[in-house]
Amino acid sequence: MARVLSALGLDCERDDRHLFRDLSFDVASGEILHLTGPNGSGKTTLLRRLVGISSVVDGDVSWFPDSPERTAEPCEKIWYIAHRPAVTLLQSPLENMAYALALHGIQAPESVVWDALETVGLRGFEDVPSHQLSAGQQRRVALARLYLPLEPDRVRAWVLDEPLTALDIEAVDRLKARIIDYARAGGSVIMTSHHGLDSETVRTLELGAAS
């Protein structure tokens, strides 16, 4: 299967501690890579390196190494949902979604955005300023973009940093199901979580096991 991501010889040292050394892995399309490890083992740092915003990790990361046209901007094809979920508190969920889509160059009809917000359980909160929402609801604003029905080519990988925190049980199950569905449709997911994920396509990479 086509590789989506290839990481070679990743090395991270912080405060005289090696978080990980000579870490190499591939992610194929349709695969879910579940990063586990204790707090402080470098999961977030690794994800940030994968999307290209961390300068503290050495090594090579290449996105879509097998695709014929080498995309200069692989970020266009990746949804990265970080620990800080990029939800602007002064804006409503609808405005937050519109901005996230604009930054990705995606034009989605308004009805689709409303549907996505309804799916994550924000119906009736579309126009409420996000600072009036609870922590879990703010999290859902960021996660709503994962429920957009985009063509499989448009966003080919999700990089999710602790997507399940602050969500209630029902929302956790819904997101897990959505992740598995997305992988089944050919997308790749790289995520960190302390929850387990049951699917035959999940591969687990444990950080901090060696030390």
Partner: protein, 225 residues
């Protein structure tokens, strides 16, 4: 989607946020007003002496007011994680930065420029100098916002970056204020002022070309650490 509609939606977001944070933005404008109002009370009510000092007072006030507002430029985007998404956007980050700085100028530099004529009456500045004063302030505050964005980006990752921001940026602000006040003073004194204005405009265009690149580089450092 093409480039321009995207940029328009980014611009709309920034204007919206500026409107919703309007109390933060009123702060520098009030500061400017207070500095200029207190000046004649504290120094001298003599109109001829005040008229000599007027361009300098207005410029210093505008510069400090601009400096006050800079810390907010990237702070909230950094804190909620939007900045990371901007650096990963499919639009060039320089265009996003330029958009942010442009909005910053629209809500600080432009109001300062518009307030200046009213305040210059209080300082006894001859009316003939007004068009040039406004022109230099408009150009100057734009270049202050552009240069300041580099400092704001460098210090955004620090908890208390305010003092460092001032130290970093002050030396770069000095040439702008020299040529800005120089132009107005020369015109009041009946001397040729075009050279000062040309230098100021050159600095503005120079910072327009260079500062977005430097700001993005600084933001990458702040976010990447």
């Amino acid at each position: 989607m093409t480039f321009l509609p995207l940029l328009r939606s980014v611009f709309r977001r920034e204007m919206q946020l500026a409107y919703r944070r309007r109390s933060d933005l009123a702060n520098p404008l009030l500061f400017f007003l207070i500095v200029v109002v207190l000046f004649p009370l504290g120094v001298t009510p003599d109109m001829t002496k005040l008229a000599d000092m007027a361009p300098g007072v207005l410029w210093v006030g505008a510069l400090l007011a601009n400096l006050l507002s800079l810390d907010l430029l990237f702070r909230s985007d950094y804190e909620d994680g939007s900045l990371e998404q901007m650096l990963l956007a499919s639009l060039p980050p320089t265009s996003l930065v330029l958009c942010k700085v442009w909005v910053h100028w629209l809500v600080t530099g432009l109001p300062l420029t518009i307030m200046a004529p009213l305040l210059s009456i209080m300082l006894g500045l001859p009316g003939s100098a007004l068009p040039l004063l406004m022109l230099t302030l408009a150009l100057g505050t734009l270049s202050l916002s552009l240069i300041g964005s580099i400092g704001a980006a460098l210090t955004v990752g620090l908890q208390k970056g305010g003092l460092l921001l001032t130290l970093l940026i002050m030396p770069l602000f000095v040439p702008v204020i020299i040529f800005g006040t120089g132009a107005v003073q020369a015109q009041v004194a009946g001397l040729p002022w075009q050279a000062h204005l040309a230098m100021l405009a050159a600095m503005t265009t120079g910072s327009l070309a260079l500062s977005p690149l430097l700001t993005v580089a600084a933001l990458r450092i702040a976010v990447g650490d």
